[in-house]
Symmetry: C2
Subunit: 273 residues, 2 copies
């Protein structure tokens, strides 16, 4: 164990308390002394951007990231252009709620041609970099677990995300490391090191066997097989010292009272991260 | 589309017809003119090695592989030694049923230390190479999808399997390429090329969204997103011209009559592989 993660870095990714509205989640963070929150766009749309910004200011809760831009590949240029426009709206929203990071879930392929879909991702990110720069928002490419390659993202390893970052060579683009997505990777240690200076986020949860639901199967830290403390140590050695988001997509956890989840999350974070 | 796969290469991996005994599966192959079969050890144990060898000889059905050796990592040296002994029994069985390929599913880690578990795999394979050579059996390292890293195998990419093959530098060791496990990999084309001359098997099925069961979620060829024909073309360009196993783990398919499954499998193989 390499020390304890600092509670001052703890962030609630609001999908962990999916049944809470954004207003309830901000209040929950304040009540439970969780200093950061990561906000999802559909929740932000429900509450309103101005209302959210005001509520955040009042509460003192900081925003670690906006979730999510991306979804670049599509069958037609027209549709791809629409996606780029939507990413620009996401960049504006990120700036308005005062976060410097937009998380990119890059999107699945519209057909069996993964090479082409990955090219669409590359072009899509390239198209929004200037807009992100104008708004002071960084773009965090989050590789998703290979089991989501068909339906969520064709960017599936940290190595791929690093290659994109190197390709752009822009301070506006970096990677987001989520333990659930990358823990299995035989190249993980090397790729975290290769990401030095460009890590924009670190997400924790756990991988529990058996996983009964591929989407809603993430576990609370400590309930699974991932060496969370080891990975935090690597990420810190690669220069990341920002907020650490707890992002757990799990129906059982959603069904519990939010305050109880936040308390358990704090305990587990201190013990395992 | 690069031509059609030859029916003379078609092999039934018997887990595709899980409800059949081995004897029924051999008869099913004969009746449906499927020239090859891949046999699982627990089914072989039920039927008996000698009985199986005799039945195969009578039917003329050839054995593409024995499934499976591996499972090398364990918490104690004693347990790891036991696993190696069990792999030697598998090698003997492979020789007795006249197949030249033992498929290795390398096994999960007993704890959170993946680096150590991967070292156990390396040592385990190394320990059985001489025995495999004596029996004229090749060892096919099958990388499993990263979603099985916690419970089935810590060898999760073709790149990893290739590295092991290069490390041993022995004609006795090669890789098995299963489309379900590797289709998502951004390095796939390069790694298939790197495996040139050491591919010992090619397995087909499909990846269908949504996948309702992580273990029993494989789909019939053509029902999913994988470019099967493209991958067969790559594998052939890398020098593999052996049997092509249909390996589908799917409860719905298991619940259908075996002859119906074999007929559909032949049609889909011709159309999509």
């Amino acid at each position: 164990m390499s020390g304890q993660a600092e509670l001052s870095k703890l962030s609630l990714n609001q999908i962990t308390t999916e049944n809470w509205s954004l207003s309830e989640a901000i209040d929950g963070c304040e009540r439970n002394e969780v200093p950061w929150i990561s906000i999802w766009r559909h929740k932000l749309a429900e509450y309103g951007v101005k209302e959210t910004a005001a509520h955040l200011k009042q509460s003192g809760i900081k925003v670690s990231s906006l979730c999510r831009g991306g979804m670049f590949p599509a069958a037609t240029q027209e549709e791809r252009d629409k996606r780029i426009e939507d990413n620009k709206r996401a960049i504006e929203e990120a700036a308005e709620i005062n976060t410097d990071t937009l998380v990119l879930v890059c999107g699945p392929s519209p057909d069996k041609d993964l090479v082409q879909a990955r090219k669409h991702v590359q072009e899509g990110i390239e198209a929004i970099i200037p807009y992100a720069e104008q708004h002071g928002v960084k773009l965090g490419i989050e590789p998703l677990h290979p089991m989501y390659a068909a339906d969520r993202s064709v960017i599936n390893t940290l190595g791929q995300a690093n290659s994109l970052v190197q390709y752009y060579n822009s301070k506006q683009v970096g990677v987001v490391v989520d333990v659930f997505h990358v823990w299995w990777d035989p190249q993980l240690a090397q790729e975290i090191e290769a990401a030095k200076g460009s890590i924009l986020g670190f997400h924790v949860s756990d991988w529990k066997v058996p996983m009964l639901d591929m989407f809603k199967g993430r576990a609370m830290m400590g309930d699974g097989v991932i060496d969370l403390n080891g990975m935090r140590t690597q990420v810190e050695a690669a220069g990341y010292h920002g907020p650490i988001e707890v992002e757990i997509i799990n129906q059982e956890i959603w069904d519990r009272p939010g305050d109880e989840v936040l308390q358990q999350m704090k305990e587990r974070y201190t013990k395992h991260v």
